[in-house]
């Protein structure tokens, strides 16, 4: 029998109204105290240890994942209350598809239920104005889960104060690859040359015909505009040919060099702007539970610098305010040290 059932009596006492009131107020007070210092803007969690927790307590694996979800709800509340703007969690790795089939389907089924719950009992997300975003390889999400994902994103779209990033199916290397690919795309296609039905030449023609209708006498202003219009048209023509990936190379080579953006202008910032977390503030804290000291393909690009990495021994379902406070204090303390160090240098 699971030892989780044995704690019923203790739970009953802790859940009694006066005890609950006291605990809630104590937590509020603590969070209020922490808020006096600097607060991280972006925290990432690698929620590891659900299965080990289940094994240790002799409950079903999926039950462990459920408890893990409860821990997530708890953590979200703490983070948003403290004033953290973005919370990123690693829900499902692309590598997780290698797990036994029944577990994957179990996790997917759970994802459906939990996404629905998150939105329907949306008071947690709505209270802190948190919008859900799903980061990762969208085309790997099973078809039956996709509507739930879209619905969750849609229903929290109006929340602008905070963000909950759910990485689902995600790996950091895939993210970096897609960011590099997007950068390459950006630099090998001129920006306004997407397949639009509107033709610039048609527009200039129309304007010209309008103008000729309006006044028969052509003023010098008009003619200069016309010139511009013509050159513009040429541009668009030449670049369309350059752009079209299916066009044979011979045809596009002559005009290419003039149209493409210069690759020397690419910086780390360019690639960064194509990562999934482009709009989020830089990562401040990375937390991994269950005593594993690896990043395991999560947030590699984001935490290589200025992010503080914490590896905790506790398993994810156990994670609570009591584990988070020392981390936050440590972060604030290091932040203070860093500013002290940099202060005299400047």
């Amino acid at each position: 029998m699971s030892d989780l059932y044995l704690s019923h009596v203790r739970n009953w006492i802790l859940k009694s109204p006066p005890a609950e009131w006291v605990i809630r107020n104590a937590r509020e007070l603590l969070i209020g105290t922490l808020k006096q210092g600097p607060i991280p803007q972006h925290v990432a969690f690698e929620m590891d240890g659900n299965r080990r927790f289940a094994k240790n307590h002799k409950i079903e694996t999926i039950e462990g994942h459920h408890l893990g979800f409860e821990a997530l709800a708890r953590v979200l509340e703490i983070c948003y209350k403290c004033g953290v703007k973005v919370v990123t969690v690693y829900a499902f790795s692309i590598e997780n598809f290698n797990r036994p089939r029944h577990e994957v389907s179990g996790l997917m089924a759970m994802a459906k239920v939990k996404l629905e719950q998150l939105v329907q009992h949306g008071e947690l997300l709505d209270r802190y104005g948190a919008g859900i975003r799903v980061l990762g390889e969208r085309d790997l999400i099973p078809d039956d889960v996709l509507p739930y994902v879209d619905q969750a994103i849609e229903m929290t779209k109006h929340n602008k104060d905070a963000v909950l990033n759910i990485c689902f199916p995600y790996t950091s290397r895939a993210e970096m690859t897609s960011a590099i690919k997007a950068t390459v795309d950006e630099y090998t296609t001129a920006p306004r040359l997407t397949n639009t039905p509107f033709s610039q030449s048609r527009i200039t023609q129309k304007i010209r015909s309008n103008r000729s209708k309006k006044s028969d006498s052509s003023s010098p202003m008009d003619s200069s505009l016309d010139e511009n219009g013509v050159s513009d048209m040429d541009d668009s023509m030449s670049s369309t040919t350059a752009l079209d990936p299916d066009s044979p190379p011979l045809q596009s080579t002559p005009v290419q060099s003039t149209r493409f953006l210069n690759p020397e202008n690419i910086t780390a910032e360019t690639i960064n702007s194509h990562t999934y977390t482009a709009e989020c503030p830089p990562l401040d804290i990375f937390i991994r539970t269950s005593g594993v000291t690896r990043l395991s393909d999560f947030m590699l690009w984001q935490c290589h610098e200025n992010a503080q990495i914490f590896f905790l021994k506790c398993l994810w379902p156990e994670f609570d305010l009591w584990h988070f406070i020392p981390i936050l204090l440590e972060w604030q303390w290091r932040q203070k040290k860093l500013t002290e160090k940099e202060g005299p240098r400047k």
Partner: protein
Amino acid sequence: MSFTAKDTKLYREDERAGHRNLGVKEREKLVQAPYHAVTLRVLSILKHHHNTPDYVRRDVSVFKRLPKHVSIILTLEDGGRAGDALEKLVNEASEVAAWCASAGIPRLSIYERTGILKRYMPQTHRALSHKLKSWFGKYQAPPITLITRGASPIYSVNRVSYTQDQVPLEVILVSEDDGREAMVDLTKVLVQMVQQEKILASDITLDVLDHELSEAVMPEPDLLISFEPYVDLQGYPPWPIRLTEIYCAPDNQGVGYQVFLQGLQKYTEATFKLGK
């Protein structure tokens, strides 16, 4: 965290009251930092390697498996303004190289943010070879190859004629420029290739990037040891550290053999189950 006079006072008061004031957890917290420092110090005395490869070999012989590729993060002291900062850095690098060579770890990558070692490659190579000679003896020292991105590697003279029991050591120098900047450079090359229509944008896959980055910059290390008091990547290349075991001794200060050993121990204990 630092250990202040206030903490000492608090602990003494608690001791007088027969350890009733503070809970076990709090007491642990109070004594944690000095405890770590003292253990490390004691370990460093007990486990001293006496600059002898045999001692190191004996220490690592108990580990079930050894990493093939160890990476370390070194810090240039005081931003390199102190006169002996570079010497200290080279000395630390050659110490760790000697431990790796003795333990039989064939590859070591040294990350140092500013990349100052790259600017003194011949001198660094000489210092490393010198260290190994003083450890192994002039003719028994294993050959060292010093590699860095964008420069030709430096080999030892005996790189072809070493004996069976010598494990040649490959040392890779890595700096901040090999991180995001290297990926930017790679992107530039890819953009040019696509522009010249040598490849298609859709040809760029994770595989291609991984192969290119691990060939040109560094392959994925098995174990990363930070000699700082807490994990601080300092701009370490983001691509290679995917599954790297990261070890950092809490409250440790400076490069030490005991930290290196503990890192190896940690690696032995770690279980790998990619995504499972």
